[in-house]
């Protein structure tokens, strides 16, 4: 099952990311994961949060441009070779990864979580579950 990530347009200038985090803080949005893609003068903040719709609304109210993007959150074994094993599945299936980022789940040290954006979300998900890997639902993310 894919989850919704929020992608936010940010100018690449001091204080712009903090302006976004202060909006989230003021509205009690908790982030599960964050990644930044940047160019010389702008960037995109990609965030996974507990309450997606609430977060998008408060960001838009504060004049941010925020889009929802489908991504896969995958649980992988928290041990050497865990990621490699998973990437082999994508390689074999000829799936291209547009971007990915990681977050650890300290409550369960046996697992790590990876966020993936691939060229074909549905096909990727099928390949992963076919090989016994677990993709997380929105609810599960909120409860981590």
């Amino acid at each position: 099952m894919s989850i919704k990530q929020i992608s936010v347009f940010l100018e690449n200038k001091p204080g712009r990311l903090q302006k976004m985090t202060s909006v989230l803080a003021a509205n009690e949005v908790n982030m599960r994961a964050l990644s930044l893609a940047e160019t010389k003068d702008f960037g995109i903040a990609r965030i996974i949060v507990d309450d997606v719709l609430h977060a998008v609304n408060v960001l838009k109210d504060a004049d941010f441009i925020a889009h929802l993007t489908s991504v896969l959150a995958v649980e992988i074994p928290n041990k050497p070779g865990g990621l490699d094993q998973m990437l082999q599945i994508f390689s074999e299936a000829n799936v291209n990864i547009e971007y990915m980022y990681a977050f650890l789940a300290p409550k369960d040290l046996n697992s790590a979580y990876m966020i993936f954006r691939t060229s074909d979300t549905k096909a990727s998900e099928a390949k992963l579950t076919g090989k016994g890997l677990k993709t997380l639902s929105q609810e599960e993310i909120a409860n981590i």
């Binding site: 347009f9 940047e38 995109i44 941010f64 441009i65």
Partner: protein, 433 residues
């Protein structure tokens, strides 16, 4: 010793100049009435016939022409001769997508080149000089106009056109160029480059420069003169009237002499359209007396300046105009190119952006910088950095294609463009000229 290309007319008594203008104006109004229905209609709307114009004292009665008229009558509406008699066009950017296209007969080109020859001679040019023309050639009038003027003077002409700085410097040094024609910002840039290469003013063969097509300050003049070891002269003109050489500076470097045997200059109040007395600051209006193909009467330049007929130490008697001090519209001149905010707006809308933008112009090391900040919109944003960058680049290309110069495009967050009383501030011009 002051040199003149056509001393008799350049130094003619004021009464002679007035008599020439009177005679030519009557003839020109008749020519326009007979051949330019667009302007004839404007005269008829004011209840005028050519008989109402008996001398230049009656000029004030005639209707004005503005850039909007040029756009409305694009491309042939203001042409005064059959196309078979036209030999060339030049073109400059208009206020929106449409360009201004000006037509020339051979006679028009000859007179234009004579005006440029007067400017080159006033800068000390003779047939022993080597004139390097680093203005652009093509639709832009700068290169072709001074090229023709240089031929008329009999100077050896190097038509380098703009760009390729190393090659420019090579020709200046290897062929001993003595007069340089280009925009003042490019002259300053060439000067800096030559300094970096170890050439001092005493090593550089140049003795004079004729610089125009954009605003420049006295301070910039002194800088250029020092770096290149030359005397720097200003020149003024616009495509609508012919091109460079409508007015030019003499050795006094104190205002530009308008070629009054070809043009009548007036200063008006841009709001009331009243003609203002000599010495007042206002909008410059030109009537071309000799143009056959594109005979504009009372054309509003939108340039703000003053006129003086006080005697000049150079001996010329033609009226002098001050450097333009600004514009009565929102046109910007960036690196010698006319830019209207409305053109940028057109491109933004074409490319799918909203018209929330700001133009920031500055001058760094004597060169204009040009940035367009555009607010990002929900529609234009995607989660993919490459796609957003590609859209940014497409916008740079579309602006270049509309304006002819490159702008730095910065995508900014929504609602971040400075607003004053709810209205976005479109232009921030930080140039100190």
């Amino acid at each position: 010793m002051e040199r003149y290309y056509q001393k008799e007319i350049e130094c003619a008594p004021r009464e002679t100049i007035k008599a020439i203008q009177d005679e030519k104006l009557v003839k020109q109004v008749r020519h326009v009435w007979d051949n330019v229905p667009y302007y004839r209609k404007k005269m008829e709307e004011k209840g005028l016939t050519p008989d109402d114009i008996k001398s230049s004292d009656d000029l004030y009665k005639l209707p004005f022409l503005s850039k909007a008229d040029l756009r409305e009558s694009y491309p042939y509406g203001l042409v005064g001769v059959p196309l078979k008699d036209c030999v060339r066009i030049h073109s400059t950017s208009g206020t929106t997508g449409k360009r201004v296209v000006a037509f020339y007969t051979q006679h028009d080109i000859d007179l234009w080149e004579e005006c440029c020859a007067r400017a080159i001679t006033a800068a000390g040019g003779t047939n022993e000089d080597v004139v390097q023309i680093s203005y652009g050639y093509g639709l832009f009038t700068g290169g072709p106009g001074l090229n023709g003027g240089s031929h008329k003077v009999g100077s050896l002409t190097i038509p380098t056109s703009s760009g390729n700085t190393d090659r420019q410097i090579m020709f200046i040094m290897d062929l001993n160029a003595t007069i340089l024609c280009c925009t003042p910002s490019y002259a300053a840039y060439l000067g800096e480059r030559m300094k970096e290469m170890g050439y001092g003013p005493e090593d550089i063969p140049l003795k004079a420069g004729i610089f125009g097509a954009e605003a420049w300050s006295e301070e910039m003049r002194r800088d250029i003169e020092k770096t290149l070891g030359i005397k720097a002269y200003d020149i003024y003109g616009l495509t609508e009237l012919s091109g460079p050489g409508v007015a030019f500076e003499c050795s006094a470097q104190n205002g530009m002499h308008i070629n009054e045997d070809h043009f009548i200059a007036e200063i008006i109040d841009p709001n009331t359209l009243e003609v203002l007395p000599e010495g007042s600051q206002g909008e410059l209006v030109f009537t071309s007396l000799d143009k056959e193909a594109y005979p504009l009467l009372r054309y509003r330049t939108r340039d703000i300046c003053t006129l003086t007929r006080e005697p000049c130490s150079c001996g010329r008697t033609h009226v002098r105009m001050s450097k333009p001090k600004g514009r009565s519209d929102d046109m910007l001149i960036i690196r010698g190119v006319n830019v209207f905010p409305s053109q940028i707006e057109t491109v933004l809308l074409n490319e799918g952006y909203a018209a929330n933008y700001q133009i920031i112009v500055d001058r760094v090391n004597n060169t204009d910088t040009f940035e367009v900040q555009v607010e990002m919109t929900n529609e234009m944003f995607t989660d993919n950095v490459g796609e957003v960058s590609a859209k940014q680049k497409a916008l740079v290309d579309a602006l270049k294609s509309m304006l002819g110069i490159r702008a730095k495009v910065t995508l900014v967050a929504p609602k971040t463009i400075t607003r004053s009383e709810g209205k976005a501030v479109r232009v921030i011009d930080r140039r100190k000229i």
